[in-house]
């Protein structure tokens, strides 16, 4: 009787809390343009919160002894592998000091998201044009 009661209590509480998922495969983080030589992944966590939204957190460590800029973008995909179009996915530019970390944190726009992809790139001179709406789709927007 006690066992059944305990199982019942555990089942109730597990329904209310964030469900942590196993770490995703490394292919979800794509280092482009040699950024893998600049940054090392030091932490990666994935969870589905109580609302059913996937959340991802990744810490990248700047292994260089000089500061560097990095651009990253988190895209979400549905169960069919299609990218979910959302204003929450955008290129973010960060200046990372030497031997410091950047913290990438994102939440899926819909519970339908089942996977994610993080692209890490070097900012370049073309990026300055990105705010120009006519170039909105450059660099695999």
């Amino acid at each position: 009787m006690f066992k059944i009661l305990m199982i019942f209590i555990v089942a109730i509480f597990s329904g209310c809390t964030t469900q942590y998922l196993p770490p995703p495969p490394m292919t979800n983080i794509i280092f482009l343009e040699g950024t893998d030589k600049k940054f090392k992944i030091v932490n990666e966590a994935l969870a589905r919160n109580s609302g059913g939204f996937m959340q991802v957190e990744v810490d990248l460590f700047n292994v260089n002894s000089y500061a560097g800029e990095v651009a990253y973008r988190v895209d979400w995909r549905d169960s069919n592998g299609f990218t979910i179009d959302t204003i929450m996915s955008r290129w973010i530019y960060v200046l990372v000091e030497p031997h410091r970390e950047i913290h990438i944190k994102a939440i899926a726009p819909t519970p339908k998201a089942t996977n994610y992809r993080i692209r890490v790139m070097n900012p370049n001179s073309y990026d300055k044009e990105r705010v120009n709406s006519y170039r909105y789709q450059q660099k695999g927007q």
Partner: protein
């Protein structure tokens, strides 16, 4: 006449060098150099909306007990800036993302200052009109009252920096989701966007 030409050019170059283009505060300088104004532009609305949505989804405030979707009404968003802003430039982005989240649906039949889409009421004027099939006219008691209300304020603060050589403009995007039945704020968020530019750059 010619003797004034060279000093005039020199002065023009000097002044042109002093006038710096607006830049975001806290963003790498190389990403900061083009098409940025001191006013609120598309990128600012997008960032404020994204910040608000991410915070709302993380907070769990939009998870309706027992499942289903909340009905949200758009209330007043006060524009306390020096610019003429259409608040829907911000609100529409939030609405699209909320609808996508599957947690909230926005009513257009109720809004601060009057219905956003008056057709919900206009179409009901067709009751009793023999030209219309009365089975296709909206029945009484079909409109859904809102559970939540979204309100907010955009604030602008200008200050002088670098010994008065430059100006800094900070925009505060403050938003609140209120539970209408209890009057309690279920979620509150603030996003601050700062820009620095020369005094000749106008923020309105």
């Amino acid at each position: 006449m010619k003797k004034y030409l060279i000093p005039s050019f020199s002065l023009a170059f000097l002044l042109a060098g002093c006038a710096s283009a607006p830049q975001y505060v806290g963003v790498p300088s190389t990403q900061n150099t083009k098409n940025i104004s001191m006013g609120i532009d598309h990128a600012d609305f997008q960032r404020a909306a994204t910040d608000a949505i991410e915070s709302m989804l993380r907070s769990g405030a939009l998870n309706k007990r027992g499942g289903g979707r909340y009905v949200l009404a758009i209330s007043t968003v006060i524009n306390d800036t020096m610019q003429r802003i259409d608040i829907d430039q911000l609100i529409k982005k939030i609405r699209i993302a909320l609808l996508q989240s599957g947690k909230v649906v926005v009513t257009t039949a109720v809004r601060a200052g009057g219905a956003e889409d008056t057709m919900s009421y206009d179409a009901r004027e067709l009751r009793g009109n023999s030209e219309f099939n009365q089975k296709t006219v909206a029945k009484k008691g079909q409109l859904i009252a809102p559970d939540l209300s979204l309100s907010g304020k955009i604030i602008q603060r200008n200050s002088s920096v670098d010994g008065g050589d430059k100006q800094r403009v900070d925009y505060y995007f403050q938003l609140t989701v209120t539970d209408i039945s209890s009057g309690l704020a279920f979620w509150e968020g603030e996003s601050v966007i700062g820009k620095v530019g020369s005094n000749s750059s106008s923020s309105w």
